[in-house]
Subunit: 355 residues, 2 copies
DNA sequence: CTGAAAGCGCTTACAG
DNA sequence: CTGAAAGCGCTTACAG
């Protein structure tokens, strides 16, 4: 039996080039397979013998090999980037959505690139198109309110860009939707106020061009109706989702001779506006007026008394929306529609009405 | 004279492939130059005849040609992505910083990819390294507080990644710093309170491991000293930049037998904590207590009375930091250090002390 | 199950 | 000032 060969430098055991990281060629050479086989392993093709796969995967781990997303992107004609497109929600909402998306993208090789835009400017859809096409994005998350824009979705469909839409209700194929059920969140607020004994309530809602505003108001009104309370039109005020518009709406509502005993606001910013007006008019919250917001933003617990508010679970929403984009198509079809449920966080801004 | 030839399909006027976008080869063919010349024009090389450049640039505009960042990135061994690395500042701060960065990146071909992290977790520097190396980032913006971590900057230096650090004072080469002069912002608050007539003041500051906390407190104390007022150590309380820690610090400060007449808080969250305690203790702001915050967050104007606060101009800061990363190196050297100045926004939370 | 060739759309290094 | 060749690190299409 010949003595075992002393290891010598051959083509197949040349150490990795120092400094620069390993490439698919290094892995193929070191493993003694073709680069195509390595490529199959990277892309989880089943057409690789189990033994080969394990051996090569171990090697990749050992040398810390990670395929270059630039090279893969060039060959695939599609990058490993997920875009997040949004208009102008509150900062905390955006940031939570980003955190959620990154939860899903962590260790996937995908990264998140952000694209705020102004949906009122005429060229905004074109701006998104350039963003998507130039970067050859793998997919985009559409956050409310741009998620509600059918023209934007149609454009993306037209250029073959996959997307997920986050919205209060289904606006598209199940495979492209994450539903936030704003109707249910508002209904929970209505049930809570009704249970406390309120009968004369009011709603300060967002712009009627926003589905979220329609759904939240509708959910509140319908839930009251189910419990036998009709909310007159005069008790529903449309505002602009801003603090200032909340102030203006609250002034109208609280100046009338018969004040409502409770106000449901379609977001926390407007609820803060109600607080401001109540303070100015000497109306005590919650003794003389109950208030509920929507968002459960940090502001809710900074206000005094701490504001009861509907939590949206934004981070979960972002995670689900991003996860759908990087899943294989087969996994997406036929599964139930993605949804995230809101729920009311009770703090100290409500109590039974004065008798 | 022969009749003019009817245009026929030749190699050089074959229309662009329908559907897919033009490549450097299409431009070279259509312009009748080599792809290398087109490449020179893309990269603004001076080694191109003026007439050629103009002709090719017009063609590129006409067909809507944009070079593929994936292909350029592969050849350059560096992507056209800017990373933004941050720990856990307030949502509005992050979002403003992102808006600012995108202001600088608009129409530059670069995009912004976000990377929140936890600087207390042991592997976080490694996480940033993987992020930078795998995506072959063109550069990263380091936002406070990670911008203050020298180990992180050293790692980036070690792997040859360009970066800009946003911090209260110079921690690095001028070419890598954007200074926010927190010291000056705090000094302005001090001058304002002194001018109103306050003599017995206090500071609620952030963690002493944060340069921002040190600078803001130092700036406030030094400015008072310049005006002949010594702030005793007992009037400086270290808190955690959070609402809750602000509440705790305010309780200590306002429970004592001799209350300060004014409190400077190193951020708005802690100032909101002071408001909460003052409300609970029946101390009227601003009549019995003046308060100043730092950040000029949306919260400042939601509080009652509206909080005077030092505005940081975060969006400008982000714009400058990102612009430095995509500038040519020559433009960076020798120019004055980048800086953004804070200034006090006066609202209704301060007045002269009661006599 | 595996591989050799060609190609993705650019740039670098070299030559003229 | 301009260009032909080779290469960046992968994948696709084809063949076996």
């Amino acid at each position: 039996m010949p003595a075992p060969r002393k290891p010598r430098k051959t083509a197949s055991d040349t150490p990795l080039p120092p400094g620069k990281s390993a490439t698919i060629n290094d892995i193929a050479r070191l493993a003694g397979v073709s680069k195509k086989t390595v490529s199959r392993i990277i892309n989880r093709s089943p057409l690789v013998r189990e033994e080969t796969r394990e051996r090569v995967e171990k090697l990749m781990r050992d040398v810390g090999y990670v395929p270059d997303p630039l090279a893969r992107g060039l060959a695939f004609r599609r990058s490993f980037l997920i875009g997040m497109v949004y208009d102008n929600p509150t900062a905390q909402f955006i940031v939570n959505m980003q955190y959620g998306a990154l939860d899903a993208l962590r260790d996937s090789g995908f990264e998140l690139v952000v694209h705020p835009c102004d949906s009122r400017s005429p060229g905004y859809i074109d701006g998104v198109r350039r963003f998507v096409q130039q970067q050859k994005l793998h997919g985009v998350m559409l956050v409310p309110r741009v998620s509600e824009d059918q023209a934007l979705a149609d454009m993306l469909d037209g250029i073959g860009c996959r997307y997920t839409r986050i919205a209060a209700l289904a606006l598209d194929d199940h495979s492209r939707m994450v539903i936030t059920h704003d109707r249910d969140g508002a209904a929970e607020a209505a049930d809570y106020l009704q249970t406390l004994g309120h009968r004369d309530m009011a709603v300060i809602t967002g712009p009627s061009s926003y589905r979220s505003a329609i759904e939240r108001t509708g959910g509140f009104v319908d839930a009251l109706a189910r419990r036998g309370i009709e909310l007159p039109k005069s008790r529903i005020l449309e505002a602009g989702y801003t603090f200032e518009s909340g102030v203006a709406a609250a002034e109208k509502l609280l100046a009338g001779k018969r004040r409502p005993t409770a106000i449901f606001c379609a977001n926390d910013e407007m609820a803060a506006g109600v607080y401001r007006v109540a303070l100015r008019m000497g109306i005590d919250i919650p003794r003389q007026l109950s208030v509920i917001g929507y968002d459960d933003s940090p502001l809710a617990s900074r206000l005094w008394p701490p504001l009861s508010s509907v939590r949206r679970n934004t981070r979960d929403t972002g995670r689900v929306a991003a996860a759908m984009l990087i899943q294989a198509d087969d996994d997406v079809r036929g599964r139930p529609i993605a949804s995230v449920r809101p729920h009311l966080i009770v703090r100290d801004s409500c109590q039974p009405p004065e008798t």
